[in-house]
Every structure is written in C-alpha cells, then in structure tokens.
Amino acid sequence: MYQYDDYDRRIIIERAQQFRGQVARRLSGEITEEEFKPLRLQNGLYMQLHAYMLRVAIPYGLLSSKQVRKLAHIARTYDKGYAHLTTRQNIQYNWPRLANVPVILDELASVEMHAVQTSGNCVRNITSDHFAGIARDEIEDPRPYCEILRQWSTFHPEFAHLPRKFKIAVTAAPGEDRAAVRFHDIGLRMVENAQGERGFEVLVGGGLGRTPVIAEVVRDFLPKRHMLSYIESILRVYNLAGRRDNKHKARIKILVTALGVEEFRRRVEEDWEKSRTPALELPDAEVARVSAFFAPPPYENIAADPDRLISLGLGRDRDLGNWVKNNVFPHKVPGYSAVVISVKKPGIPPGDVSDTQLDAIADIADRFSFGHTVVTHTQNLVLPDVKTSELPRLHAELRALDLGEANVGKLTDVITCPGLDYCDLANARSIPLSLEIAERFDRIDYLNDVGDVSIKISGCINACGHHHVGNIGILGIDKRGEEFYQLMLGGSPGNDASIGKILGRALAQNEIVDAVEKVLGRYLEIRDSIDERFLDTVRRVGFDPFKEAVYGSADPLEAAGGD
C-alpha cells in the first residue's frame, strides 16, 4: 500500500499542529462555536447528540495491520472501546473529548492517517471498489488513481469552500460496480477506447440525499493524464455556479439537472480549454511511482483448484460451508480468495468493532492476508489475499471473535446509519431496526433461501444508510416528534443502478420489521424460480403484490406470520 514520503508526512503533521491551535483558540474563547464549527468540520469533528464524533479518513478503505492496531489503541484510550465503520469506508469514534482530538490526530499521523476533509463542504474521502487490486474483472488497479486524487484534494486551496460536500468514487471493474460510482458527485469508471488506450468515463451529478439522482456521463473517454485538470474544471464550474442560497439544493446534482447535462458539459469543456496547462498533465512517472506501492504482495505459486471452494462449501461443517458460500469471493490469483468479514451480528450495532476485535483482526491480517484489511461501504471488512487452503482455519479464528457470521450480501447484512441514537441530523433511530432484523431473521436456511437482498436503513433524508439504493430501503421520518419509517423497494447501487420507490404510507417502529417480513414472504411465494433474486422479482411484478402483502390486511399482526 501507499507509504508516505517526507512530503506527505509533513502535511499531515502540520495539519495536526494547526488543529491543535484551532482547538486551543476555541477552548480559550478566542473563537466562538460559530467560528470553530467550519474549522472542526473540515477536520471530521462533529457535535452529535451526546458527544463529539471524530471521523477518520481511510483512503479507498485500505488499512495496514499497524494502522488497525492504532485504531484499536485510540478506541481503548480515548473512546469507549469501540469504533464504527461508516458507509464511506471510513471509521468513526463516537465519544472523544475536544481536548483529546489533537492528541488523537498525532496518534493517527504516526501511522500515516488523518481526519482531513472527512466532513465539511469540500472534497471528501475518495472511495473505490473494496476488491480493488484483486478483482478478476478489473482493467487495472484503481487505487493509484485514488491515491493521486487523495493528495490532489488534500487542502486544495480553491475548493475548500464548495457549495456543499463533494464525493468522488473510482472503479476499474467494468463488469460489476462495487463502488456505486453512479451515486457520487463524480464517478470515474476506467474504460478502454477503440485504440486500446485506458482512460475514464466521467460521470457527474449522482447522489442520494433528499433528491436521489443517477449520475450522467459528462465525458465518454478522458485520457488518464488529464484526470486532475478535468476534475478541476468540473469543480470550478460547480464552485462558481452551484447554489448557495439553500443547502438542500446545493449539491452538484442540482446544478447538472438545472443546466442540463449538455450545458454543464459545455461549461466544463470551455473552462478546461482555458485552464489546462502541460504542467497539470499527470506524468507517467508519477503514476508509476504511486503504482509501485500497490504492487502485488509475494503470492505463492499455487495450482488453480476450482473444486476446492466447492468442496469447502459443501463439506460436513455447515457453518464453514455457509460462510465459504456467502463470504468468500474470487481472487485474480489462483489459490487465493477474498474474504469479507461480516461485522453484522445479532445484538451488536452494525459496523461497531471493539478494540480487542480490531487488535485480533490486525493479527489475523498479518498471518492470513499480507497485513492488509479493507473497509467496505457496506460496513464490513475485507481480508483481500487469503490462501484458499487456509479458509477453514481462518473461519475458526473469526468465529471465536464473534466475526464469523455467514451473511454477506444477505438479508441481515444491513447497512445502517447511526440514526437518532447518535446523530444530530437524524429523525428516527436506525440501529434498533437493524438489530431487530438481525434477531428476527437469524436463521441461516432462511437467509440462504431468500438469497441476495440488501436492506439499507437511513435515519433521515440525508441518506447515509443509502436507503434509496437498497433492494429494500427504510427511511426514518419524524411525525410530530415521534419516529416513523417509510418502506422503499427496488433500489440498486451498481451497474443496473435504480432508485427505490416508496411502497405506501409510513409505518410505526413496531410495524416496520413485520412489513419487511411480509414483503419477503410474498417474494418467496411469487418468485419464478429460486434463481430469481428479490430485486428481479420486484422489477418483474411491480409493487402491487407487495403493497397488498403489507397494507392489504387491516390488522398487521394477523398477517405477520406470512412465510
């Protein structure tokens, strides 16, 4: 993975020092909360309901075991013994004291980490495919470009005060979009043109939130060397013309929609003609320098044995078999597999990992996966480079840590925002619903029968839980101070991107999981075969059968045992 040079290190150390000064000025009263707020937000420090929350950047989700141990240490020393994986491949601490935050930043800087631009109206953490570098279907490893973007965006002087936050995602796998690039302010999809050159398809104006929009293609093919100058032009057009009068209409998607993609493209191209200079072109030498850090680890030469996984999946140990079927993914190198560690266990808030679990994961990463771990936007962890022959041993170790759930991509692998238990913006709680779902459907045969289905829960319209792109989406709303939930069906974040639609009237907290169960029960009745996924059934039959299942009976309790 990327290693800081003196240049990178200095910037992060100086940033920690600068924030120490800002905190001191706040604590001394030299600056007010109103003045401090935008400063702390540029450094990922929020004020939540009960405490400050510090969001730590994990560029494109990648962590070394040394970094994981540091995150454990911080959780233990400065927080309540846990950290929370976010839906943008970052990590959050929910209970830091203000005076400790500069100390935490020093600790992070010592392992080449930071909290720069993890909030605020600036370019946020660059996200990518959680299987980047190992996916069989990728054209090239996208992480060097993510890292170059990370450096470019760090303290960009012109774009530190945009109309609203700005999220960029990169994928290089044409077959499956695991980075949801169509739901980002800018999505870059690596493609090859007719001449065999590699470049990016540039998508702009996607996003969730109050107004979910699927991004539009602004450029079919951008040669890689122009990546930064072209993105600067997009940001300049947005910085100057994006709305600043209403924060709900300030994202770039609103500008692209208002201007139309043609006019937006014209403005970007016009600015680009004026602003691009030869100096801004990305030299091959720099791409090579950064790429060298992402060179493959020293894989052993293992003969391909495709039957191995199948036999593990069908073996006598059913727990192992289910885990291999659901949590293990193909790797481009024969004899290796990618493992997704589920951080979704009944009774534990989704995405919460304890300090002891983090320490143990670091040890496991060292022994099984060349010391690397990746945070997924689905709030799980990936061990990217596990020898297929070691899967049984790894599974046994993970199970002992309460990290052996075999539910990746299944019903109980719920994406959940912090919701009203923590978040100042939330209208309703999310975690209790997620826990109830985990409890209710904690039967592996049922999970396997229902198959691939995503449930995504957001506690408010800001959509941190990505509810619009859940096959089943749940959105918390506030009705005169009480929590209610809207149920949505049909969303998908990938290449077949679609935005879910509301099924019917909002439901009370004690109705919503029953409703999910009814929807699933109806799906099991009407799917045309066991191979028809939930999403495909919804797309085929529409909403009526599901409306009837949820709202058809006058007494929701009577209809509860639908399956």
């Binding site: 009263g29 309901l49 400050y52 309540k80 929910n94 209208n427 826990l435 009480e482």
Partner: protein, 101 residues
C-alpha cells in the same frame, strides 16, 4: 403523551460534547432533572440568546425545548430529546464514561 407545561434550556458542553441542561441558578448540569423550569418560549429564547453571547466558551448552541414537568421529574416530549436526556437506546461497549483522561 402529556402536554407541554414548561420550557427548559439545553445545549452541549464544549469540553466533551455531553448534553447540558441549564439550572435555575445559571449553571449547567448533566442531568435533565436539574434543569430550571421556565414559563414560556420567550423566556427560554431570551436565556438561550444570552448564553450564546456570554457562555459560548462553556456551552455550544444553547436553545429552548418544551417539556412536561411534574414533581421532581422532567420529561422531554420528542424522541430526539428523550434520547438526548437518556443516552443511546442501543448497546455500547462501555456505557460508563469509560474514557481514560
């Protein structure tokens, strides 16, 4: 749900972000039961505005909320304020303060 019968003033402590409730004597408490009761929105607003001006070093973003108060208990009327008063409703690793200082 009882009807609101008083107002109180709340915010968050600058030092650790904990929920703060304004006592009748003008100091700030971590327990809602100690909040000073006010008759109406206008008094709450006036006190919050004064606190923004004079107490911003100690307290962030003070504002008034409606409550139902009876005897020694003060009950907030929204889910949000109930959670602010009582903490997260879901398990946390170390629910005690648990932070090395």
């Amino acid at each position: 749900m009882p009807a609101a019968n008083h107002w109180i003033v709340t915010g968050n402590f600058t030092d650790d972000g904990a929920v703060a409730w304004r006592r009748a004597d003008g100091t700030w408490s971590r327990a809602i039961a100690e909040a000073g009761l006010l008759a109406d929105e206008a008094s709450a607003k006036a006190i919050a505005a004064r606190a923004v001006a004079a107490e911003q070093r100690e307290i962030c973003d003070p504002y008034g909320i409606e409550v139902f108060a009876e005897g020694t208990t003060i009950d907030p009327l929204t889910a949000r304020q109930r959670i602010r008063a009582n903490g997260p409703t879901t398990p946390i690793r170390r629910p005690d303060s648990g932070i090395s200082r």
